[in-house]
């Protein structure tokens, strides 16, 4: 029987429709009337995201589902959706002046960002493994294209190809995992799958364990967890910087949303095994990410390894299952501001036509560009986890959840890793403020949109660090309402 419109509940899908609709509109307008500057496309993208954001905030969480049960509108989904939309909007702001400067200002860029966001929204709210997969593919394919966006640039093309090949692998793993879980439980709906697993007990069912393992591998690729991380540094470095900024935040938010829901709704009965597996991945990811970051001499690649390590920290709370879900959410909110802000500074400072920002280019910028340098220092301190920034509250919450769930040793590993990370984050600060430039960089004006994005990110980092109460309550309440 075909589902009726009321079952589809398209009203609840307004965020996705607004975002994807704005993307299609951009493509259409650009094809029919394209003339001169493409700035309008960015504004249209921001408008679509604003509508989606308004809808998410206004409608709030509820128990109803969308598209006949494929998507959930529960607190968890809506909260991750909110973080994703904010990150996408900041990414659009960050890209506007950069694309013009690099002479790659084309309307498709914004459309692709919107499509990727729509995919991410589907992952965040998915209540069905097939929906997760469709969201994942929409997000990933958009990102493959975005990575190759600077078509004249060999590094950009290479990054895209590498991403495409390894991403396809990951998708295959994920899909095979879905198949096995379907075989084990007879359904792809998460809630029903959770019930089936609970009823069947957690005794050795090779289908179930195989499926779980494959899905974790698939998500692990997307999150660039060690040992599935090898694509990330090259792709992060080769892709246009504005794409890297978006990718490093949006794909993590979406993938963690799906992972948290899987852990809470479906795999709660299997917690001992999944937690042990994830704890192992967390240790590897944090440690390898941080150690490799120590050896870098270029900011973009450093941030790539840093974001691998950051995913490891978040995983520490994911290990704690339900207890850690709120911490994951809050940390990702802070991480969105912090990481996008840091990449925005890289965008502002990198030489034209070059994706790289070698450490030596930073020398002396602390006093030549006091505001931007102060902002970058703030973001780096937040990534380190210094108090009065959101990074501190976030890490406190992440590691606190681990301790609360009895994973004290994991929290200790995480904390030691934070100390290691302080070394390379601070090194950038040292170079900015404590060294004189040998060959001063010719800096462009940052541009208004980038300035706005930087200001929003810095304000977010400080406000969430200073008065985190509202956001902490929000995160806690959001994860309390999970469709199950």
């Amino acid at each position: 029987m075909l589902p009726t419109l009321s079952v589809l509940n398209l009203n609840g899908a307004v965020p996705q429709i607004a975002v994807a609709g704005a993307g299609m509109l951009i493509m259409l307008i650009d094809a029919l009337f394209h003339r001169g500057s493409r700035r309008w496309a960015a504004y249209l993208a921001l408008l679509g995201l604003a509508v989606a954001l308004a809808r998410v905030v206004e409608s709030g969480a509820s128990a109803e589902t969308i598209l006949d049960g494929a998507l959930a509108r529960d607190g968890l989904g809506m909260a991750f959706a909110l973080v994703l939309i904010v990150a996408a909007a900041l990414s659009v702001l960050v890209a506007m002046d950069y694309l013009r400067r690099e002479e790659h200002e084309r309307a498709e860029y914004y459309a692709l960002i919107l499509f990727a966001t729509a995919g991410g929204l589907a992952m965040a709210m998915a209540n069905d493994l097939v929906a997760v997969f469709i969201g994942l593919e929409t997000l990933s394919i958009s990102l493959y294209v975005l990575s190759a966006f600077f078509t004249g640039d060999a590094a950009s093309r290479e990054a895209a190809l590498k991403y495409l090949l390894l991403g396809a692998f990951a998708s295959a793993f994920f899909l095979y995992g879905i198949a096995l879980l379907y075989g084990a439980s007879g359904t792809t709906r998460l809630v029903e799958m959770g019930t089936a697993i609970r009823l069947a007990g957690t005794q050795a069912d090779p289908l179930l364990w195989g499926g779980v393992a494959l899905i974790i591998v698939g998500v692990g690729f997307k999150l660039a967890l060690v040992p599935f991380h090898s694509w990330a540094p090259d792709v992060y470095q080769g892709a246009p910087t504005s794409v890297t900024a978006f990718m490093s935040v949006a794909s993590k938010v979406a993938a963690f949303a799906a992972l948290v829901r899987l852990l809470v709704v479906v795999l709660a009965p299997a917690a001992p095994l999944t937690s042990a597996l994830l704890a192992l991945l967390a240790v590897l990811t944090m440690t390898v990410g941080n150690i490799l970051a120590l050896a870098q001499d270029e900011v973009k690649r450093l941030l790539a390894y840093s974001s691998i390590a950051q995913a490891g920290y978040i995983l520490v709370a994911a290990v704690a299952g339900e207890v850690g879900a709120a911490a994951v959410l809050f940390y990702l909110l802070g991480y969105a501001f912090t990481n996008l802000g840091a990449f925005a500074v890289v965008l502002a400072w990198s030489r034209r036509g070059e994706g790289r920002l070698p450490f030596s280019d930073l020398a002396g910028l602390g006093f030549r560009r006091p505001w931007t340098a102060a902002a970058l220092s703030l973001f780096l301190l937040s990534l380190t986890g210094m108090p009065l920034t959101v990074g501190f509250v976030g890490k406190l919450y992440l590691f606190g959840a681990a301790v609360q769930a009895g994973w004290t040793w994991l929290a200790i590993v995480a904390v030691l890793n934070s100390v290691v990370s302080a070394f390379y984050y601070l090194r950038l600060v040292v170079i900015m403020y404590m060294r004189e430039a040998e060959m001063p960089l010719a800096l462009q004006r940052a541009g208004l949109a980038l300035g706005v994005a930087l200001a929003v990110c810095a304000a977010g980092v400080i406000l969430l660090g200073l008065v985190p109460g509202v956001a902490l309550d929000w995160a806690r309440q959001a994860v309390a309402v999970v469709l199950s």
Partner: protein, 500 residues
């Protein structure tokens, strides 16, 4: 007082640092005077708190409490007692003097003075906080401006020293943080006084021991206790003069203060159990610190190591009090005496070593060397400098009549009664420190034939004399008549000893 005196004291420097940043950098004189003027506000308020603290009632006074992050039960909770009041006053005093001394800074004065004021807020915050979360925030916040002060305005190896300082302290801080998170999950509170009442992990001794050592590590690195002291010589030597003054004068006290305010009251049983270990570390710090100081030929490095030696006395006093925890009123007197000595030693070390670092700065500005072998015979050439250096050195080696003697005497009086073997070993440190201060500092700098290189050396100018005068005043006055400060300290110490 019905107005929030502590908050005003705490946030005036923060606001001041923003004001300084907003001033035009073409007018360095203006922003220096503005920064100095701003620093007088917390100084005056600190004096006001000193005099209006009710010694009869005791306990925490000028308390301010408001919910901050209710999701995790964090409060904005300030208050001072007889231990924190002297520390708050020391902070305000040394900051004002340092700012005044720093008028010679020509390189980026705006940022320098802004960082200095920010640092004052952080340090005051540590001494005032009664909520562990707030305490930790200020504790970490104190790292950032000091890191920049060393890294931008420091000596030739400043980059290395700055990052080493930061990372060492961070290792300790995060260890402490994990323990504190566990304590919060256990007690449901960040309130430092409440935690001392609830005694977390009193049923799980393994966990209690782990938490004790984690918190100990955080504070021991800052004090610093041997073997966690290796960051100190680098940071102190590379920091600009005023930075060294603040480092030695106040930042080391943050660690010692944490030992007394947090570690001792919250884990008395654990501290008692591990008192022999901590006692050994304290004794090593005292003797080893003194020996290493004696082997230095760089004046600044010598004074840096003398801090390891002198802060060891603080640890010895704290250990003595801890070793007799829970043994009732019989030991209470000696415990109180030892702890009084420890707190007074914190104050005295701040005053004396602060002065010594200023004096190193004075001579280095002129001679551009700190090599003790290059000096000699300066006593007749620069009499004011010689006089002040002599008084300060004597205070440092514990000459009766000067402040250092009183606190060291109290520490040893308490320690001899409670942990005699450690006290005996540690008393070697007094002899060695007298030796290096007389031999290296007095003899090599002031006595002997005048090196012709220094024939045109000028004596201290008015700015430098004004900077040092208050410090000399306190060395003498509290050496002759320590009652005003001891009354204040004793009140709080007796409360702590009573609760052990």
């Amino acid at each position: 007082m019905d107005w929030p005196v502590l908050s005003i004291m705490l946030f005036t420097p923060l606001v001041g640092s923003v004001i300084v940043l907003a001033l035009p950098k073409e007018k360095p004189a203006l922003l220096k005077w503005v920064a100095l003027a701003i620093s007088f506000i917390p100084l005056i308020l600190a004096a006001l708190v000193w005099f209006s603290y009710d010694r009869g009632t005791g306990g925490m006074q000028f308390v301010e409490r408001a919910a901050w992050i209710s999701a995790i039960n964090v409060h904005y909770y300030l208050g001072v007692d007889g231990i924190s009041v002297p520390m708050v006053c020391l902070t305000a005093l040394l900051t004002t003097l340092s700012l005044f001394y720093s008028f010679i800074i020509d390189q980026r004065p705006k940022e320098y003075f802004a960082f200095f004021l920010l640092l004052e807020t952080a340090m005051l915050g540590v001494f005032m906080s009664l909520d562990f979360f707030l305490f930790y925030v200020f504790w970490e916040l104190s790292l950032v401006p000091m890191y920049f002060l060393i890294g931008i305005w420091g000596g030739p190896r400043r980059e290395y020293a700055a990052i080493k300082f930061f990372l060492y302290t961070l290792v300790g801080s995060v260890a402490m943080l994990l323990a504190v998170i566990a304590m919060y999950l256990e007690t449901g509170s960040w309130d430092i006084l409440e935690m001392a009442r609830l005694q977390p992990f009193s049923t799980n001794l393994t966990l209690a021991a782990v938490a004790f050592w984690a918190v100990f590590l955080g504070f021991a690195i800052k004090v610093p206790v041997f073997p966690f002291h290796t960051w100190l010589p680098d940071a102190h030597v590379e920091a600009p003069t005023a930075g060294s003054v603040i480092l030695a004068g106040i930042l080391l006290k943050l660690g010692a203060y944490g030992m007394i305010r947090i570690l001792l009251p919250i884990f008395p049983a654990m501290f008692r159990q591990f008192a022999p270990v901590v006692g050994i570390l304290a004794a090593i710090s005292i003797v080893y610190g003194a020996l290493v100081a004696m082997s230095q030929w760089d004046l600044k490095k010598l004074i840096a190591y003398s801090s390891v030696n002198h802060m060891g006395y603080v640890m010895l006093g704290v250990t003595a009090a801890a070793a007799a925890a829970g043994s009732g009123p019989a030991a209470a007197d000696s415990q109180a005496i030892a702890l009084n000595g420890a707190v007074l030693q914190m104050w005295n070390h701040g005053i004396i070593t602060g002065a010594l670092f200023f004096l190193v700065g004075v001579i280095y500005e002129r001679a551009h060397t700190r090599d003790l072998k290059a000096f000699g015979g300066l006593g007749a050439k620069v009499p004011t400098f010689a006089g002040i250096l002599t008084v300060t050195t004597f205070a440092s080696l514990g000459l009766p009549g000067l402040a250092g003697f009183v606190s060291e005497f109290l520490v040893f009086r308490g320690a001899f009664a409670l942990i005699r073997p450690f006290a005996i070993v540690s008393s070697l440190g007094i002899v060695i420190s007298a030796a290096y201060l007389l031999w290296k500092v007095i003899q090599h700098v002031l006595l002997g034939p005048l090196n012709e290189r220094w024939a045109r050396l000028t004596d201290m100018n008015r700015r430098e004399v004004i900077t040092l005068a208050p410090l000399i005043f306190f060395m003498v006055i509290f050496g002759l008549y320590p009652a005003p400060i001891l009354d204040l300290i004793n009140q709080a110490v007796v409360t702590i000893v009573g609760s052990l």
